[in-house]
């Protein structure tokens, strides 16, 4: 049982990292806490479901289209809404929260809930690792999480856009003097964050089904991982993802499934109360607490 739990804990950690990485990218660069993140995740899943089942597109096409569309809607959200309240963190929170709420409650109103609302798995087979049956989809999740984290690291360290991202994150005004358009970069960061949410949805949703409530859970999970790891720190996301992933699986196996959410929530509160900048967040400590 122990070895199996470890395997599933690793998979769970990858899921959490996938969920959090987009939120973290947006916050780390533009400082926008995108509370519509969970809603974008669910929206992309429904989009892909609609294209797959109502327009009868092949799965790869509908997935790609929904990722593109979600990315664009993230950019539009920044251009038309967030740009006007830029810099006022609290208005940004209220506005993004309002957007997320509207999207999720709209889907709830439309009543698109049930087991038929799910996306197909990529490869429907499973095999034994360490005494536990693991399906290929879960292995793919782990691989894609690894690829995305690595790709993001390469992107932010070796491309000019990626370097501009980090420049804005470190000091917006200095970056402006170097000719980096902070509005353009912020738009990109919000839309990339949305795109990453869509990618995560495409590969994680096949394990369960699409439900509006999932949107709130995704937001909470992303927040949990980012807060514990330190908002805006990619290394922190990985470490925190692993910590929460293991903690959740082990409470599930040894205590009870009701307690898994409580563990992560309690972890957030603990970290926020003791070290609000998280395990790895060093910059901007004075802006977080006084």
């Amino acid at each position: 049982m122990f070895a199996g739990t470890v395997v599933f804990a690793l998979i769970n950690s990858s899921i959490l990292i996938l969920l959090a990485i987009g939120f973290n990218l947006t916050f780390g660069i533009s400082g926008v806490a995108n509370f519509a993140y969970g809603a974008l995740y669910i929206m992309s899943a429904y989009l892909s479901w609609t294209m797959l089942n109502l327009l009868h597109l092949p799965f790869w096409a509908s997935a790609a289209l929904s990722i593109v569309f979600t990315t664009i809607s993230g950019a539009m959200m920044y251009r038309f809404v967030l740009l006007r309240v830029r810099g006022q963190a609290l208005s940004e929170v209220i506005a993004t929260f309002g957007i997320g709420l509207s999207i999720l409650e709209l889907f709830r109103y439309l009543g698109l809930v049930g087991f038929e609302y799910t996306l197909p798995v990529f490869w429907n087979e499973s095999f034994m690792i360490a005494g536990a049956y693991v399906d290929i989809q879960r292995i793919i999740i782990v691989l894609i999480a690894l690829v995305l984290v690595l790709g993001l690291w390469l992107f932010t360290h070796f491309t000019s856009t990626g370097l501009a991202f980090r420049g804005i994150a470190q000091d917006e005004r200095t970056a402006l003097t170097f000719g980096i358009d902070s509005d353009r970069i912020a738009t990109l960061s919000v839309s990339f964050g949305a795109g990453l949410a869509a990618i995560a949805a495409t590969i994680i949703i096949p394990l369960g089904s699409i439900a509006p409530d999932e949107g709130y859970d995704v937001l909470i999970k992303a927040l949990a991982v980012c807060i514990i790891g330190g908002l805006g720190s990619t290394g922190g996301v990985i470490v925190a993802g692993v910590i929460i992933g293991f903690a959740e699986r082990f409470t599930d196996s040894y205590i009870g499934s009701h307690w898994t959410m409580i563990v992560s929530l309690a972890a957030i509160l603990l970290v926020l109360a003791i070290k609000p900048s998280g395990l790895f967040g060093q910059q901007k400590e004075l802006e977080e607490r006084i």
């Binding site: 806490a33 809404v81 006007r84 309240v85 963190a89 609290l90 208005s91 940004e92 929170v93 209220i94 506005a95 929260f97 309002g98 957007i99 997320g100 709420l101 509207s102 999207i103 409650e105 709209l106 709830r108 109103y109 709130y216 909470i220 927040l223 807060i227 009870g256 009701h258 307690w259 959410m261 409580i262 929530l265 309690a266 957030i268 509160l269 926020l272 109360a273 609000p276 802006e287 977080e288 607490r289 006084i290």
Partner: protein, 334 residues
């Protein structure tokens, strides 16, 4: 010939703001009118309403209280995404006192108000030092966490909740209790925020570091503001427990967090009266739109976005400006 709009204070405003306010009935009415009108409306309306709209009025007052409590916190620089915490805490404490200890409502409600407020303050004290969105995140998470804990541990009736609370004697008692408290809180807090004490609280919102530099312990002031705010929320919850004769997990639902925030944002945050105005507009509106069901929350969400982005000062500010100032077209000097 180009023109621009000029905005000037009404003469009567300039006169009546001073000691001369007492010089004529007209000026006294100018000052007292906007205050007496809502008070009179709240006190007289219940007598003419039917049973259904009386219940709506209780809802209005309860959400107005929650919105005021949200605004009070926001004025101290703490944006709460979880007013449901205050509401639910008051509701559960009152429910438990009544259910397990058999306390009558007029003992359970006051105790729940103070105890619920104190509990919320105690829960949030460790994170009071957090600023901006960090505080918002915690307040969003805590009510969700409490729901899960109740679900997991099955305490206080678990998912079923507790039912069969003692109701208050009559609907009119409920209405006058809640509107009385609402008016008291509204005018009391508005006055409080005008004093030096309120100035310190607003200072914490605007620039907490300068307030610290002035030798003021902002942590202690934030705790006090939190206690005031959560007590108001807890009262609303405690009262609703006895109105519905039930308390359960729905008291921590998103509705109780979103609607107060939407009300305060629509009415105009930072004025307290705006928060109440927002509740007076939104709650009956949502009753009238009961047919569209879940779309109501979508609507609140859109209200939140539109008002924060396009009309950040809110309706109350606009009305106040129209009341105190007049506009006229003047020629632009070339």
């Amino acid at each position: 010939m180009k023109k621009r709009r000029e905005r000037i204070d009404r003469g009567i405003k300039a006169r009546s703001e001073d000691v001369y306010a007492l010089s004529s009935w007209r000026e006294m009415l100018y000052l007292a009118g906007p205050r007496l009108l809502p008070a009179a409306a709240f006190l007289l309306l219940p007598l003419f309403l039917g049973a259904y709209w009386q219940k709506v009025m209780i809802s209005v007052a309860v959400f107005a209280l929650l919105a005021i409590s949200w605004d009070m916190l926001a004025q101290t620089g703490m944006i709460s995404l979880g007013q449901a915490l205050f509401f639910g805490m008051g509701a559960y404490v009152s429910g438990i006192l009544n259910f397990y200890f058999g306390m009558p409502p007029w003992i359970a409600i006051p105790i729940a108000t103070v105890l619920g407020g104190a509990l919320c303050t105690l829960i949030l004290t460790p994170v009071l030092r957090l600023r901006g969105i960090y505080f918002s995140m915690v307040t969003l998470i805590i009510p969700l966490m409490l729901v899960r804990i109740i679900e997991a541990t099955k305490i206080f009736g678990g998912t079923e909740g507790l039912s069969g609370m003692t109701p208050l004697p009559s609907t009119l008692t409920e209405i006058y209790l809640v509107t009385g408290v609402l008016l008291g809180v509204l005018f009391g807090l508005r006055r409080l925020m005008e004093t030096d004490y309120g100035l310190v609280l607003k200072g914490i919102r605007d620039n907490d570091r300068s307030v610290t530099n002035a030798g003021i312990d902002i942590f202690w002031f934030k705790t006090q503001a939190l206690f005031i705010s959560s007590t108001i929320g807890a009262f609303a919850g405690a009262l609703m427990t006895h109105v519905y004769m039930f308390v359960g997990m729905p008291v921590f639902a998103l509705d109780y967090s979103i609607l107060p925030m939407a009300a305060a944002v629509v009415g105009g945050s930072g004025t307290l009266a705006g928060a109440a105005l927002g509740a007076v507009i939104l709650v009956p509106l949502s009753e009238a739109l009961r047919g569209i069901g879940g779309l109501r929350i979508v609507m609140y969400g859109l209200f939140l976005v539109v008002f924060t982005v396009a009309v950040p000062e809110g309706l109350f500010d606009y009305i106040q400006r129209r009341y105190h100032q007049m506009e006229r077209w003047v020629e632009i000097d070339q």
